[in-house]
C-alpha cells in the first residue's frame, strides 16, 4: 500500500502535467470546490494521521487547536528542515515529487484558512529548493496558487524559505524565529504556535510527510486512511533506512508490519549485509534510544515488535524506543557502540543553540567525556557520570533538543554498559583501529 510514493518513479512526475495525469491536484479541486474548510479538518481528524516529524502528535487535533481570532492572519508552515541524523525521507519526497507536497500544502492551508504559507527547507538542500520553486511556479501558472484558486475566491501564496542548516531550526519555535529573520533560538512555551506563532499570529507547523498525506485523505476520506495501519498508528510512514542492510533507502511502509519483516524481508531492507549479524538499531533518528537486536525484534513480553508508535515504545525507555522521524539506522556486529554514541554526542554538542544552561553545558560535557572513553582515557566513574548528566539535562530544557541529546547516551549505557566498561578497562585494545567489543553469548557474536 503506497500513498505518498505511489507514482514517485514515474518519469517526469516532478512536472505538473505528468503529476496531474496521475491524478494529481484532484484533492485541491475536491477540497476547494466541494468541501468547507472544517470538513477537511474533520476528515484529517478521522484519519488518525499523526505528526510524522518525530513527536507523533495527531495532526487533526493540532489543527483544531489553532486560534482563529477575527482579522488576524493565520499561517501554515511546513517543516522541511529535516536535520535529524539518519532521516532523509522528506528530502527524497520533495526531490522526486515536489507537487505531492505542494498539493498537500494547498489542501491544508485551505483547511486552516491560511492565505500565506511557507515551506522552510534546510539550507544544505539548495537543489531541492530549486525543484520546489520551479514546481510552485508551475502551480501558479495553472491557477492552483495565487489569487482566486480555481475560481473559488480562496487565495493562497506559497513561499519557500531556505534555512541556514542548523539542526535547532527543526524545532518548531526556533524555525519560526528563523523564518522571521532572527537567530534560531527556541521560544519558551506557552504560548504555543497555535496561539502565537509566526509574527505572533496563530500558526500550524507540520512535517512534510504529514502535509503530503492530507491530499490522499481528502481524496479517499479519513476513514479509508484509518483502515491502514494498526490502532492509533494509522496510515503509511516513510522510513529512511541507513546502515548495514542489503538495501538501504527510503521505503513507504503501512504502519503495523513487524520490525523483523522490515529488516529481513526482500520487499524492504533485504536483511543484514552478507556474513554479518544484527547488533543494534536506532529506530527513529539519532535522538531516540538505541536498542540491541533482541529488544528491537521482540518486546519483553515476547511479542513481535511492530513498526508502530505504540509497539516501538512498548516498555518505556527501559526496554523500548520511539518511532520518531523514521530514521532507521541498522548496525551490525562491527559497530562500536561507544564510537557511535560519541558521533551522536558530538552532533548534539555542535548543534545545541546555547540558550539554556543544561543543554548548552551538558551536551559539551557528555561529548568530552565520551571522547575520553573512546580514546582510552576513560575512568570507571565516567560511565555513571554520563548517566547522571543525561538525567539532569532531560526534561529541564526549553526545547526537546536537550532530551534528544540525553536519550541516546543514556540508552547506549543502559543496553551496552559492558562495552563502555571494556573501553575503560582495556584502553590499549579498544583504541586499535576497528576494535569492537564482542559480548559473550550475544546473538550478534560471530
Amino acid at each position: 500500500m503506497k500513498i505518498l510514493t505511489q507514482h514517485i518513479d514515474v518519469p517526469g512526475i516532478e512536472t505538473i502535467d505528468v503529476y496531474r495525469k496521475h491524478g494529481g491536484y484532484s484533492a485541491v479541486e475536491k477540497a476547494i470546490k466541494t468541501m468547507a474548510p472544517d470538513e477537511v479538518t474533520e476528515e484529517v481528524k478521522k484519519s488518525g494521521l499523526r505528526g510524522r516529524g518525530g513527536a507523533g502528535f495527531p495532526v487533526g487535533m493540532k489543527w483544531s487547536f489553532l486560534a482563529k481570532p477575527e482579522g488576524v492572519p493565520r499561517y501554515l508552515v511546513c517543516n522541511a528542515d529535516e536535520s535529524e541524523p539518519g532521516t532523509f525521507k522528506d528530502h527524497y519526497l520533495m526531490m522526486k515529487s515536489p507537487h505531492t507536497l505542494i498539493e498537500g500544502m494547498i489542501v491544508s492551508s485551505y483547511a486552516l484558512g491560511a492565505n500565506t504559507s511557507y515551506i522552510y527547507v534546510r539550507g544544505e538542500l539548495m537543489y531541492v529548493i530549486n525543484i520546489l520553486e520551479k514546481a510552485i511556479q508551475e502551480a501558479y501558472d495553472k491557477g492552483l496558487l495565487g489569487k482566486n484558486i480555481l475560481g473559488s475566491g480562496y487565495d493562497l501564496d506559497l513561499f519557500v524559505q531556505p534555512g541556514g542548516g542548523a539542526y535547532i531550526c527543526g524545532e518548531e519555535t526556533a524555525l519560526l524565529e528563523s523564518l522571521e529573520g532572527k537567530r534560531g533560538n527556541p521560544r519558551n512555551k506557552p504560548p504555543f504556535p497555535a496561539v502565537k506563532g509566526l509574527y505572533q499570529c496563530p500558526t500550524v507547523v507540520n512535517n512534510v510527510e504529514s502535509i503530503a498525506a492530507t491530499s490522499w485523505i481528502v481524496n479517499n476520506g479519513g476513514e479509508e486512511y484509518a483502515k491502514i495501519g494498526v490502532g492509533r498508528s494509522a496510515g503509511t510512514k516513510l522510513i529512511s533506512v541507513s546502515g548495514h542492510v542489503r538495501k538501504p533507502g527510503v521505503y513507504e511502509i503501512p504502519l503495523g508490519i513487524t520490525v523483523e519483516d522490515f529488516i529481513y524481508s526482500d520487499e524492504w531492507c533485504g536483511g543484514i549485509r552478507d556474513g554479518h549479524k544484527l547488533k543494534a538499531v536506532v529506530a527513529g533518528g539519532s535522538s531516540v534510544p538505541i536498542l540491541p537486536a533482541e529488544l528491537i525484534l521482540k518486546t519483553t513480553n515476547g511479542e513481535n515488535r511492530l513498526m508502530t508508535y505504540e509497539s516501538l515504545s512498548d516498555g518505556g525507555f527501559a526496554t523500548g524506543t520511539m518511532l520518531g522521524s523514521g530514521g532507521f539506522i541498522v548496525m551490525d556486529e562491527t559497530t562500536c557502540i561507544v564510537h557511535n554514541t560519541l558521533t551522536f554526542a558530538r552532533f548534539y554538542h555542535h548543534e545545541s543553540c546555547g540558550q539554556c544552561s543544561p543543554c548548552r553545558e551538558g551536551t559539551g560535557w557528555m561529548d568530552k567525556v565520551i571522547h575520553r572513553i573512546e580514546h582510552g582515557k576513560g575512568r570507571m566513574e565516567d560511565i555513571d557520570l554520563l548517566v547522571d548528566v543525561a538525567k539532569k539535562i532531560e526534561g529541564n530544557t526549553i526545547c526537546p533538543l536537550g532530551d534528544a541529546a540525553a536519550w541516546p547516551v543514556a540508552a547506549a549505557i543502559r543496553h551496552f554498559r559492558d562495552e563502555f566498561e571494556w573501553h575503560v578497562k582495556h584502553p590499549e585494545e579498544a583504541t586499535k583501529p576497528g576494535a569492537v567489543f564482542m559480548r559473550e553469548g550475544a546473538s550478534w557474536t560471530l
Partner: protein, 338 residues
C-alpha cells in the same frame, strides 16, 4: 487568585508568574534567578535555576505538571500548588544547573570584581555541591573591550542574555548580541564595534556575574570593603538616582540602585556612572538599604566601629545638605520597563 508555594498560600493578581508570587511571600521562598530580570521584557526561561515542581496545576485541573517548570515565566493558576525547596526533584535539578553553570566557569572569584555581589556565587552556595566532577579542560575566550568603559570577560559569562535585552531595550541601535552556538556561544558586539551609547553602562549592572565589568573600577577594590550610599543629581539624560560606593571618602564606583532581587530600578546614563566620581557631584541621601545577609553589610552592621549612620554623618558634616525624603518606591515589586 490563590497560589500555594512551599505550603504558604498567597493571593495574587491574574497574570502573576510563580516567581513574582514567591517573591511577594519573601526571600526565603523565592527561587533563585540567574537570567530572569523583571525590568527587562522577554527575559527569563534560560538559566533553568528557578525550576519548580507544580504538584497541582489549578483548582479546576489539579493534575501535576509532568516536567519541572521555570517559575519566572510560568503564570499562576487559581489553586496552583508549587513546590520549591520542599521538593527533592527540584533541588536535584538545581544542583545540576549549578554544576552546568560552573562547568566552564573559571572560578577566578579571588580576582573577580563581582565577588561578593555575584548571583552565581549565591546560587552555587545555596544549591550547589562542594565537589566538582569534571576533569575536562574548560572553554576559554579572550577578553574583549566593548568601548572605553566596559570589558567583557566571556569566560565568566552564563549567557543569561540580560545584557542583550538591555542593549535592545534601553539603548538605541542593536550592536550587542550573541554569536555562535552551544557552549561556544559568546556575547559580542557587531564585528567588535564598541557599544557607543549613553546608556551602555547598564549592561554592567544587569550582569549577574563578573563577565561585564566597569573598566573605571576594575581591580580597584573588593565590594565588602566599600560603603554604598544613595545619592542623586540633576541629570538631563537619566533620573540621576544612583548608589555611590565609597572606600574611605573616595567614590570608587557609581551604579544604578537595585532592589532586593538585584534588579535595577532606574537605568542611569554613562555620564553619571563613569564621569561623576566626586562627592561634590552628588546630593547624598543616606546609606543604601542593604539586606543583612549581604556581604556588604559586614561594613555597616558588623563592626562596631562603623555604624550605619556613618555615611549620613559624613555627608552631613562635610558635604551638601541631606535630603532624607527619599523615594523608597524602588523597594516595592517592580513594574515592567516601558
Amino acid at each position: 487568585m490563590k497560589v500555594t508555594i512551599d505550603n504558604i498560600t498567597i493571593e495574587v493578581e491574574p497574570g502573576t508568574t510563580i516567581m513574582q508570587a514567591a517573591r511577594q511571600i519573601g526571600a526565603h521562598v523565592a527561587p533563585p534567578a540567574m537570567c530572569y530580570y523583571e525590568p527587562l521584557k522577554g527575559s527569563g526561561g534560560k538559566c533553568r535555576a528557578c525550576l519548580v515542581k507544580v504538584t497541582a496545576g489549578s483548582e479546576k485541573d489539579p493534575r501535576p505538571m509532568p516536567k519541572l517548570v521555570p517559575s519566572c515565566i510560568t503564570q499562576v493558576q487559581d489553586g496552583m500548588i508549587v513546590e520549591n525547596t520542599t521538593n527533592p526533584q527540584v533541588l536535584d535539578a538545581r544542583k545540576g544547573v549549578v554544576e552546568f553553570l560552573l562547568l566552564n566557569h573559571p572560578l577566578d572569584c579571588p580576582v573577580c570584581d563581582q565577588a561578593g555581589e555575584c548571583h552565581l556565587q549565591d546560587f552555587a552556595f545555596e544549591h550547589g555541591v562542594s565537589k566538582t566532577r569534571t576533569i575536562e579542560e574548560r572553554n576559554t575566550f579572550e577578553t574583549q573591550d566593548l568601548g572605553p568603559y566596559i570589558q567583557l570577560n566571556m569566560n565568566r559569562c552564563v549567557l543569561c542574555y540580560r545584557c542583550v535585552y538591555t542593549a535592545d531595550q534601553v539603548t538605541e541601535g542593536r550592536v550587542h548580541g550573541v554569536m555562535h552556538r552551544g557552549d561556544h556561544a559568546e556575547i559580542s558586539t557587531y564585528i567588535e564595534k564598541a557599544i557607543d551609547n549613553d546608556f551602555s553602562g547598564n549592561v554592567i549592572d544587569v550582569c549577574p556575574v563578573g563577565a561585564l565589568t566597569d573598566k573605571t573600577y576594575r581591580f580597584k577594590n573588593r565590594v565588602w570593603f566599600t560603603k554604598p550610599v544613595d545619592a542623586h543629581c540633576d541629570c538631563g539624560k537619566c533620573s540621576g538616582k544612583v548608589t555611590l560606593w565609597y572606600r574611605g571618602d573616595e567614590v570608587i564606583r557609581v551604579t544604578a540602585r537595585k532592589n532586593e532581587w538585584g534588579e535595577v530600578q532606574d537605568f542611569i546614563c554613562n555620564t553619571c556612572r563613569f564621569e561623576r566620581k566626586k562627592t561634590s557631584d552628588w546630593t547624598i541621601e543616606g546609606p543604601m538599604k542593604v539586606a543583612r545577609h549581604s556581604v556588604i553589610s559586614a561594613n555597616k552592621y558588623g563592626a562596631s566601629s562603623i555604624k550605619p549612620a556613618f555615611p549620613l554623618k559624613q555627608a552631613a558634616e562635610q558635604y551638601k545638605q541631606i535630603d532624607d525624603n527619599r523615594d523608597r518606591s524602588f523597594l516595592e515589586p517592580q513594574k515592567q520597563l516601558k
